[in-house]
Amino acid sequence: MVMGTGQRRTKRGVPEGLWMSCPDCKATLYTKDVEQAQNVCPQCGHHFYISARRRLDSLLDQGSLEEWFTDVRPKDPLEFVDRKAYKDRLRAEQKKTDLNDAIVCGRGFIRGRPLAVCVTDSAFSMGSMGSVVGEMLVRSIERAIDLSLPIVIVSASGGGARMQEGILSLMQMAKVSAALGRLSRAGGLYISVLTNPTMGGVAASFASLGDICLAEPRALIGFAGPRTIWATVRIELPKGFQTSEFLLEHGFVDRIVSRHDMRGEISRIFDYCGK
């Protein structure tokens, strides 16, 4: 399924039909063509949403993924209820995405080289980090240290730290960052791939801590949401604010890499930083 994302908050999961339109160049596209192009607009290169599993398929050598920690599932420690109960939200998100939580982790290969890899999925509760995402990241990082593997973490987390798990979500930021500190001390390589969107507590923890930070073009990446900032400063935000290009310009991203080139770029970094 191809889903529209982007800064204008297009509804997710709309174009189920044969044809879809690109929110950037407005071209009418044949859905199959877009899917074949890893959910990238063949006309203008707009990067659509791609699920964590499909991302892994496109990133790793064919069939090389060995998934880890597949039986870790979220709970509802705060018994959180807003307009809906968190328990019900979880069930709905699980059904919608066929995931336990907003992340898939495992070991795979890129051009014959093994790596640990974790991908968050923005279709599950905005890709937000609660206890499960934090735990699975830490376990993956620890395993990468044990097995001397490089680790690639792909972030697609507009939700930041997950509100419904309250303070426990906030603490995941410290927990994952501490694990990355260990990895770094152990001499392990961490490549962070920032995709649309990566915000809040995810941006302010593991997503920014890569030895190398790569970003897909025109992704929304930042700490505070544009609406929050506008509400505080009440002046018009600069054009292209909080995009990958903005981050590159301000020195927080090493390279902007299109989804098609990601495999090749990661493999080249392995060449330089491998042991």
Partner: protein, 331 residues
């Protein structure tokens, strides 16, 4: 006593206090303290205990944000025997929202790092109400690393609505700097003690919050998001549901100690910290000294290992075969 800002639910307390003051003034001319005065003092204490013993989560937030609540500068005054402020991040500027410097507390020399909201309007504007920019977090970690070099223990006083959400903050890497602090604090080979003294606003709080011991004042709060922000996103009614959000987020000291996030709750004097800075500071000082003593014997390596495990164990999830989990739950 200077006029202090009254919270709506405190009105009965202030009314009774006014009555008591009247009565006391009258009874001065007579001999001794009348039974009536004594009775009323008892009543007042009971009232404070009752009101402050039953605060809603939202009321707690208003206490944590009380304009007369003691701030880092008050604790520097009341807890520390000396304070040598160290300014600047050596890269961009000196963020006034975070204060850093050497301090003496009892027998200990420490590095003190704390958010400072400011007291007058002028000071608040300078310090942006304790909302730090990336340079503030950079300053904080630089001073902490300096302290770690000489195994000077670090004390972090947390009191911020959140890291500053602005254009400059994003341009200068707000998320990058907070993330850096989380990673670097986890590796510092010196004791780190954190206390939430007022507002523990999300990443802005955690950015100086990775410690070996974490405590909070009784009526402080610590949360992943402000109740107003949570209301806007989940209830979609602006801040209309902030009271419900505050309740749902479980952000009070009671909840947080039950969740195992804070190690201790530092008691506040009757009627809240804003009513009595001195005894609040005394309670805080006692707690900080206890922590410093506890941690003094651990080697740098042990501290880092234990700190890692402390945060490593945070989080609630289930695993295993769903059928087994069900069976265990019903057993």
């Amino acid at each position: 006593m200077e006029k202090i800002f009254q919270l709506p639910f405190e009105k009965p307390i202030y009314d009774l206090e006014a009555q008591l003051a009247d009565l006391e003034a009258k009874s001065v001319s007579q001999f001794g303290v009348s039974d009536e005065v004594r009775r009323m003092r008892r009543e007042l204490d009971n009232m404070k205990r009752k009101i402050y013993g039953n605060l809603t989560a939202w009321q707690t937030i208003t206490v944590a944000r009380h304009p007369n609540r003691p701030q880092t500068s008050d604790y520097i005054e009341l807890v520390c025997d000396e304070f040598v402020e160290l300014h600047g991040d050596k890269a961009f500027g000196d963020d006034r929202a975070i204060v850093t410097g050497f301090a003496k507390i009892g027998d200990y020399k420490v590095m003190l790092v704390g958010h400072q909201k400011g007291k007058t309007l002028k000071e608040r504007n300078e310090r942006l109400f304790g909302c730090a920019h990336p340079e503030g977090y950079r300053k904080a970690i630089a001073k902490m690393q300096l302290a770690a070099k000489y195994r000077v223990p670090i004390i972090c006083l947390i009191d911020t609505p959140g890291a500053y959400p602005g254009i400059g903050a994003e341009e200068r890497g707000q998320s990058q700097m907070i993330a850096n602090n989380l990673l670097e604090m986890s590796l510092l080979e010196t004791p780190i003690v954190c206390c939430v003294i007022g507002e523990g606003g999300s990443g802005g709080a955690l950015g100086i919050g990775v410690g070996d011991r974490i405590c909070m004042l009784q009526f402080a709060y610590y949360s992943v998001i402000s109740p107003e922000g949570c209301s806007g996103i989940l209830w979609k009614d602006g801040d209309g549901s902030k009271e419900k959000a505050a309740e749902a987020l479980k952000l009070t000291s009671n909840h947080l100690s039950r969740l195992g996030i804070v190690d201790n709750v530092v008691e506040e004097p009757l009627g809240g910290a804003h009513r009595d800075h001195r005894s609040t500071a005394a309670n805080l000082k006692a707690q900080l000294l206890r922590y410093l003593r506890e941690l003094a014997s651990q080697s740098g390596e042990q501290l880092v290992q234990n700190r890692y495990e402390k945060f490593r164990s945070m989080g609630v999830f289930e695993e295993g075969d769903p059928a087994d989990v069900l069976a265990n739950a019903s057993a």
